[in-house]
C-alpha cells in the first residue's frame, strides 16, 4: 500500500519548518537511509532520510515551501509493484499514527490516559500533629555507657559489617591509616582488606564504583574524608545514586551510604568548611541524616546501612570527640525520618540538627536561667523530614526559631519556615527567625571565623525576639 511521507520533527521543539530542497523526484527509487530532502528547522538545516524503501509516487509539498507543519504529508511512497495511481489512493489526511502522543494512546475513558499532572502540594495528606515527648527512646533502666561520637560511628559500622557480609567500606585512608578521623579504626584488622578498601584520591571515581557495587548487589559505605571533597563526586551521588530507582521504573535501587564530616571544623577556611545539608536534602531519591549526639550517630548509621536507598550521612568533625550516653542495647537502631524532642517546653520552639544542636543547647542553658521555657526539636533526619514533629511543637508554643550552621540562602531553615507558614500560619504569634551561618565563604582568621558561624548568643537573641522580650 502506498504510504505517506510526513513532515518530520527534527528537534525537540520543532513544530513547523521549511521544505528547503527535494533531493529526489517523482519516479525515483529510494531505500532506507537515502536522503530525501533538506528541511530547515528552528535550529538548523537537516537532511531527512527515507525509512522505507519504494518509489516516490508523488511530491505533495514543493521545495521552498515555508511553514510546513510537522506530520503534514509531503510525499507519497509507492511499494514495489504499485503504480502512480496508487499515490492518489493514499489517505489524504494525516494517518492515525501521526497523531500527537497523548491522542495516540487509548481512549480517555479508560482513565489511564489523562495527561500526567503533578499532584499539588496541598493535595498531600496533612500531617497529624502528635504530642511531643522528650522521653528517651529506650526502656527505663537501660544500662548506659559513655561513648564519643567517633566510637559510636565505629561500632555502628563494625556491627553492620558483622551482621551482613555484603556491607563493605571504601574511601581514602580508611584501612591502613585507620581513618583520617579514626572512624574506621580497627576495621581492617577485624574484616580484612577485601571489606575495608583504601582508595586512591579519586572521589568522583570511587563514588561511581560504590554506586556500581550497590547496583551489583553489595551494600557499600563510601567514606569521604570530608563532604567538601564529595563535590567532585556529586554527579554520581545525585545523577546515578538518587535517580536510578525512578529512571528504571522501580527496577533498580541503590543501597549505599555516603558518609563523612560535613560543615566547618576549626580554622580550615573556605574550601574545607561548607555545610551541604540543604544541597542534598533538596534531592528526591536521597535520604539525608545529620546526627548530633552519639546514640543517634550509632542508631542512625545502622539504619542508614540497612536502608535500601542511597543515604547521605553528614557527620561533624567537632562532634567526633564529644562524649554522650549511649544505651547498651543489642542492635540499637534509630529510624530515619523521625525527629527527637531534645527538651520539652511551652514558650518557644527551636528546631535544629547536627552541630546546630550544640549551639542550641548552650543557648537553652542560658535561657533556662532567664526563665524561658524552650522546646527543642533535633531533626536528626533532613530527608525524610519529620514535619509532624515540627508542626506539633509550633502549634504548642506558637513561636519558632531555626538554628542551622549552613548558609542562609536556600537553606533548610528557609524550607522549614515556608512549610510552617503554609501549614500553621494561624498558630504563629511571631515571624519565624532563621539563625544561620553568615552569607560569606568561611574566613581563616580566628575572630572572623567566630563571627561567620552561629553563636549561642544569636540563638538567645532570636528567642528573645520571637517572644517579644527584646
Amino acid at each position: 500500500m502506498a504510504t505517506e511521507i510526513l513532515m518530520p520533527a527534527l528537534s525537540p521543539t520543532m513544530e513547523e519548518g521549511t521544505l528547503a530542497k527535494w533531493l529526489v523526484k517523482e519516479g525515483d527509487t529510494v531505500s532506507s537511509g537515502d536522503i530525501l530532502a533538506e528541511i530547515e528547522t528552528d535550529k538548523a538545516t537537516m537532511e531527512f532520510e527515507a525509512v522505507d524503501e519504494g518509489t516516490i509516487g508523488k511530491i505533495l509539498v514543493a521545495e521552498g515551501t515555508e511553514g510546513v507543519k510537522v506530520n503534514q504529508p509531503i510525499a507519497v511512497l509507492l511499494e514495489e509493484g504499485e503504480d502512480a495511481s496508487a499515490a492518489d489512493a493514499a489517505p489524504s489526511a494525516a494517518p492515525a499514527e501521526a497523531e500527537k502522543p497523548a491522542d495516540g494512546a487509548p481512549k480517555p475513558d479508560t482513565g489511564a490516559t489523562a495527561p500526567a499532572q503533578a499532584k499539588k502540594a496541598d493535595e498531600r495528606p496533612a500531617p497529624e500533629p502528635r504530642a511531643a515527648s522528650a522521653a528517651p527512646e529506650w526502656p527505663e533502666g537501660t544500662e548506659m555507657k559513655s561513648m564519643t561520637v567517633r566510637e559510636a560511628l565505629n561500632s555502628a559500622i563494625a556491627e553492620e559489617m558483622e551482621r551482613d557480609e555484603n556491607v563493605f567500606i571504601m574511601g581514602e585512608e580508611v584501612a591502613e591509616y585507620q581513618g583520617a578521623y579514626k572512624i574506621t579504626q580497627g576495621l581492617l584488622d577485624k574484616f580484612g582488606a577485601k571489606r575495608v578498601i583504601d582508595t586512591p584520591i579519586t572521589e568522583h571515581g570511587f563514588a561511581g564504583i560504590g554506586v556500581g557495587a550497590a547496583f551489583g548487589g553489595l551494600k557499600p559505605i563510601v567514606e569521604f574524608m570530608t563532604w567538601n571533597f564529595a563535590m567532585q563526586a556529586i554527579d554520581q551521588i545525585i545523577n546515578s545514586a538518587a535517580k536510578t530507582l525512578y529512571m528504571s521504573g522501580g527496577q533498580m535501587g541503590c543501597p549505599i551510604v555516603f558518609r563523612g564530616p560535613n560543615g566547618a571544623a576549626a580554622r580550615v577556611a573556605a574550601q574545607h568548611s561548607q555545610d551541604y545539608a540543604a544541597w542534598y536534602a533538596s534531592v528526591p531519591g536521597l535520604k539525608v541524616v545529620q546526627p548530633y549526639h552519639a546514640a543517634d550517630a550509632k542508631g542512625l548509621l545502622k539504619s542508614a546501612i540497612r536502608d535500601p536507598n542511597p543515604v547521605v550521612f553528614l557527620e561533624n568533625e567537632i562532634l567526633y570527640g564529644r562524649s554522650f550516653e549511649v544505651p547498651v542495647i543489642e542492635d540499637f537502631t534509630v529510624p530515619l525520618g523521625k525527629a527527637r524532642v531534645a527538651r520539652e517546653g511551652s514558650e518557644v520552639t527551636i528546631v535544629s540538627w547536627g552541630i546546630g544542636m550544640s549551639h542550641t543547647m548552650e543557648a537553652v542553658a542560658e535561657l533556662e536561667k532567664q526563665g524561658v521555657d524552650v522546646e527543642v526539636i533535633d531533626l536528626r533526619s533532613l530527608r525524610p523530614l519529620d514535619y509532624d514533629a515540627i508542626l506539633a511543637s509550633v502549634k504548642k508554643t506558637n513561636r519558632l526559631v531555626t538554628v542551622e550552621e549552613g548558609w542562609p540562602r536556600a537553606s533548610m531553615s528557609n524550607h522549614i519556615s515556608a512549610y510552617v507558614m503554609e501549614n500553621a500560619f494561624d498558630w504563629l504569634d511571631a515571624p519565624v527567625i532563621n539563625v544561620t551561618g553568615k552569607d560569606v565563604p568561611m574566613p581563616y582568621a580566628a575572630n572572623l571565623e567566630r563571627l561567620a558561624l552561629v553563636t549561642p548568643e544569636e540563638v538567645i537573641d532570636a528567642v528573645n525576639k520571637v517572644t517579644y522580650r527584646s
Binding site: A98, P106, A112, G205, G208, M247, G249, P255
Partner: protein, 338 residues
C-alpha cells in the same frame, strides 16, 4: 579507515552468520523506525541512533555469557536489543508509555533491565564507566567469574573519571572490559580535534591495561577480540580494553544537522564498510543463504519492529500516580511531603 577486502572466514558457521545478520538488522530497522517515530512527534527529547555501529555490540554479545553485565551511555538502543531486551518494551519507553522498560519514566537515555543485567542507559557522558567498575567489583567480591562490558564513546574517553576508573580497575584487577566505541565524532567534534597524543587504546596501556584496536565494522573481528578480552577477565587477570573503530551514519542526535563532516564521507562508509552488508555478502557468497532466505529474514525483522512500534503507540501513557512512585525503595510513603 581504509577499505580492505574481506572474505568469509572458514571457521564461522552459517547459523552464526545468520544470527549476526538478524541481530544487526534488528537494530538497524529498529533505529530507523525510532527515527521515524521521532519525526512524527511520538518520541520526544533526545534520541541517539546506533545506525552504523551495530557490529560492535552484536560481536561482543556473541561472547557474553549468562550473568555477565553490560552498561553504556545514552546511545543505548542497540545494546538493549542485542542483550535480548524486548523491542516492544524499548520502543514503548522511547514513546514514554506505561509498557516501556522504565514505565515511561526514563526515556531513550535512561533504561535498564535488571533481568538482562543491562545497567543503563546513562545520560551523563563517562559516568557509566566507574559504575561499570563497581559492578565488576561486586562480582569479584561475590567470587563469581562474571565480566562487565562497559561501553563508552571516544567523547567520554576524555572524561577524568574514566582515567580514575582505569587506575582503580587495574589496581584491583577488576573483571571489566572497557569498550571504547570510537565512532570518530563526539557530537560534532572529531577525535583529532579533541584528543592529543597517543590513541585511546594506548591511554589504557599507560595504566597497564592490555588492549587492542578492533575493526568495528566487522562483526567477526569484534567477536574474536571480545573472546580474548573475556578470557583475560575470567582468568582473573583484570581489565581489558577494546578500542573499536566504528562509524555512526546518523547525526549525534535527531536534531544534529551533521555539518562537521561531508555527505561523501558518510556515503563512503555506507557503501564500502557497512557491517550488515558485510555479513550479507558472506552469507550469499558462502552459499549459506539465498536471496530468498534473506528476504524472509528482512520481513521477519521488519514485522518485529513494526509490532514494537504498534505496541509503543498503543501502550497508554503512565498513570498519573506514577509521578509519585519509585522515588524510594520499600515502605516509605510515596508522594507525601518528605
Amino acid at each position: 579507515m581504509a577499505t580492505r577486502k574481506r572474505a568469509a572466514k572458514p571457521n564461522v558457521s552459517a547459523e552464526e552468520l545468520m544470527h549476526y545478520y538478524k541481530e544487526m538488522l534488528l537494530i538497524r530497522r529498529f533505529e530507523e523506525k525510532a527515527g521515524q517515530l521521532y519525526g512524527m512527534g511520538l518520541i520526544g527529547g533526545f534520541c541517539h541512533l546506533y545506525i552504523g555501529q551495530e557490529a560492535v555490540v552484536v560481536g561482543l554479545e556473541a561472547v557474553a555469557e549468562e550473568g555477565d553485565n553490560r552498561i553504556t551511555t545514552y546511545r543505548d538502543h542497540g545494546h538493549m536489543l542485542a542483550c535480548g531486551m524486548d523491542p516492544k518494551g524499548v520502543m514503548a519507553e522511547l514513546t514514554g508509555r506505561e509498557g516501556g522498560y522504565s514505565k515511561g519514566k526514563g526515556g531513550s537515555m535512561h533504561m535498564f533491565s535488571k533481568e538482562k543485567r543491562f545497567y543503563g542507559g546513562h545520560g551523563i557522558v563517562g559516568a557509566n564507566v566507574p559504575i561499570g567498575a563497581g559492578l565488576a567489583l561486586a562480582d569479584q567480591y561475590l567470587g563469581n567469574d562474571r565480566v562487565t562490558f562497559t561501553y563508552f564513546g571516544d567523547g567520554a574517553a576524555n572524561q577524568g573519571q574514566v582515567y580514575e576508573t582505569y587506575n582503580m580497575a587495574e589496581l584491583w584487577d577488576l573483571p571489566i572490559i572497557f569498550v571504547i566505541e570510537n565512532n570518530q565524532y563526539a557530537m560534532g567534534t572529531s577525535v583529532k580535534r579533541a584528543t592529543k597524543g597517543m590513541t585511546l587504546r594506548q591511554r589504557g596501556e599507560a595504566f597497564g591495561i592490555p588492549g587492542e584496536e578492533v575493526d568495528g565494522m566487522d562483526v567477526l573481528a569484534v567477536k574474536e577480540a571480545g573472546q580474548r578480552a573475556v578470557e583475560n577477565c575470567r582468568a582473573g587477570k583484570g581489565p581489558y580494553l577494546l578500542e573499536v573503530m566504528t562509524y555512526r551514519y546518523r547525526g549525534h542526535s535527531m536534531s544534529d544537522p551533521a555539518k562537521y563532516r561531508t555527505r561523501e564521507e558518510v556515503q563512503k562508509m555506507r557503501d564500502e564498510r557497512d557491517p550488515i552488508e558485510h555479513v550479507r555478502t558472506m552469507l550469499l557468497e558462502g552459499k549459506h543463504a539465498s536471496e530468498e532466505d534473506l528476504k524472509a529474514i528482512d520481513k521477519e525483522v521488519k514485522d518485529r519492529v513494526n509490532d514494537s512500534a504498534e505496541f509503543a503507540k498503543e501502550s497508554p501513557e503512565p498513570a498519573v500516580e506514577e509521578l509519585w512512585t519509585d522515588i524510594y525503595a520499600a515502605e516509605l510513603p510515596q508522594g507525601e511531603a518528605i
